[in-house]
Assembly symmetry: C2
DNA sequence: AACGGATGTTCCAATGAGCGGAACACTACT
DNA sequence: AGTAGTGTTCCGCTCATTGGAACATCCGTT
């Protein structure tokens, strides 16, 4: 009896367990009870209880009056030091703000992270359409404007590698045929911007441009709007100006 | 010899050690070598090496080509789920953007966190003055506009408690006399907004207003500008409209 | 108010994850 | 090439950690 770590699937190391517990939280489950964390992390209740208690002490988790645990402020605060926030988001934010004011639509900034589009920030009010994107969240490359940009400016080998895996069909309009997608990426590169039409969320389309440094797309900047508002020529124009502005901010670092 | 945990000051538990390692990173030291982490966390080199390796595996730290460690994207990403970001920042952001466009000055949004002002976001371009504030960072309550607001709308007991401790003099103009500060807070409440004049950074002043819910200041919203640009009546007007807008967004949650 | 199911907390003998000093390896500078 | 600084690996030993079980609390229903 004890203390062999016998629970199948759960990490063995203490730090690995803490990371697994923190990984239980996501966009759809922001608040979790102890039992829920135990189930998701595959840790026994008492082990979960102990790990969670330490994370609460350290400020990485917080427990509300509803007895549910949420990500704590300290974790957010330290997380702000990550280069994706500290270097990119912070410098891009004034430009994102301007772009939001100019268009009144959803503004998204994303980077490539483990083969997906990681949203660095998203600016939109209640009037703006729902895009499925949130700061810190991931979406597939092939169904989103920013994702297509990030993919198009990859090396041919990286693109081939992405196309090898089955492409998720997010909506009936998602491009999941590798041949069609490859053609789409070629066109994206040729045009200098990406387009989507209901490929990620129904009714919506997007325009996105790369933020280029040294020939690479270090990030992608996009506008998501309902198709009825998608003024492509105008959005391309303002996006490219904004992209240039952000690139300039990023280069003035040293 | 080994493995007694003999290092004075270092946590004993593994998770506590991981948290201590992550706590070594701050605004002034965003990138650290292994040796630096070891020194700051008071952990022996080999222990540090092991903890850091696990955090890198879990995506909480990343190591660059300069051999230095930085906070990893995954930590940022999970951190975005914290209510301070997910509930407050995200909803306030469009209004912050508008305010930034209207004023062209530094916009700050802060909450009370462990007796300090925690900056939830900050919007400013290169033209804007340097304020010492960054998203995720803390500044004293008594020297900042948002901090004074957060303090003024505390209970009298909480205010008294804050005044008991020696008040840090950030600049020669900082108010560090408890009697003067108390008077300042009374006036702040009476006026409905806070002012600073070079109390936090030289040359700059600020105007800040509370975001009230149920009679409490759940956050504070401020503009920081050089004193020559500090148009108080106009800033108060736009800040109070923005504060109302954010409050409205927060109440439309349920 | 009572009850029961769900959720959460505490305990403890046993054990293996983790310990840190030491040896070794790598890097950068002179 | 030498040296100092930084980083990595190893290993016998120990204590932080284990999870099942007992116990406690909470909450919804009757």
């Amino acid at each position: 009896m004890s203390p062999a770590r016998t629970t199948a699937g759960a990490p063995i190391s203490s730090i690995g367990r803490a990371i697994a517990v923190l990984g239980c939280f996501n966009e759809r489950r922001r608040a979790l009870t102890l039992s829920e964390i135990s189930k998701k992390s595959l840790l026994p209740m008492s082990s979960t209880h102990r790990v969670v208690a330490e994370l609460v002490t350290g400020g990485f988790l917080v427990r509300g009056s509803d007895r549910k645990y949420r990500i704590g402020t300290r974790m957010w605060s330290i997380g702000q030091l990550a280069p994706v926030s500290d270097q990119l988001r912070h410098r891009a934010l004034p430009t994102l703000a301007r772009l939001y004011e100019e268009t009144g639509e959803n503004i998204t900034l994303a980077v490539l992270d483990r083969g997906q589009a990681l949203y660095v920030d998203r600016l939109g009010g209640e009037r703006s359409v729902h895009t499925g994107a949130r700061a810190g969240g991931h979406l597939p490359l092939h169904t989103t404007g920013v994702g297509k940009v990030l993919l198009a400016w990859q090396t041919p080998a990286a693109i081939e590698k992405y196309l090898e895996r089955p492409l998720e069909r997010t909506t009936p309009y998602s491009i999941v045929d590798p041949v069609k997608l490859k053609k789409e990426l070629d066109e994206t590169r040729e045009r200098g911007y990406a387009l989507t039409r209901q490929e990620s969320t129904a009714g919506n389309g997007s325009v996105a441009v790369p933020i280029l440094r040294g020939g690479r797309a270090v990030a992608a900047l996009g506008v998501v709007a309902h198709l009825t508002h998608l003024d492509i020529p105008r959005l391309v124009e303002v996006l490219q100006a904004a992209s240039e502005s952000i690139r300039h901010e990023l280069e003035n670092e040293h």
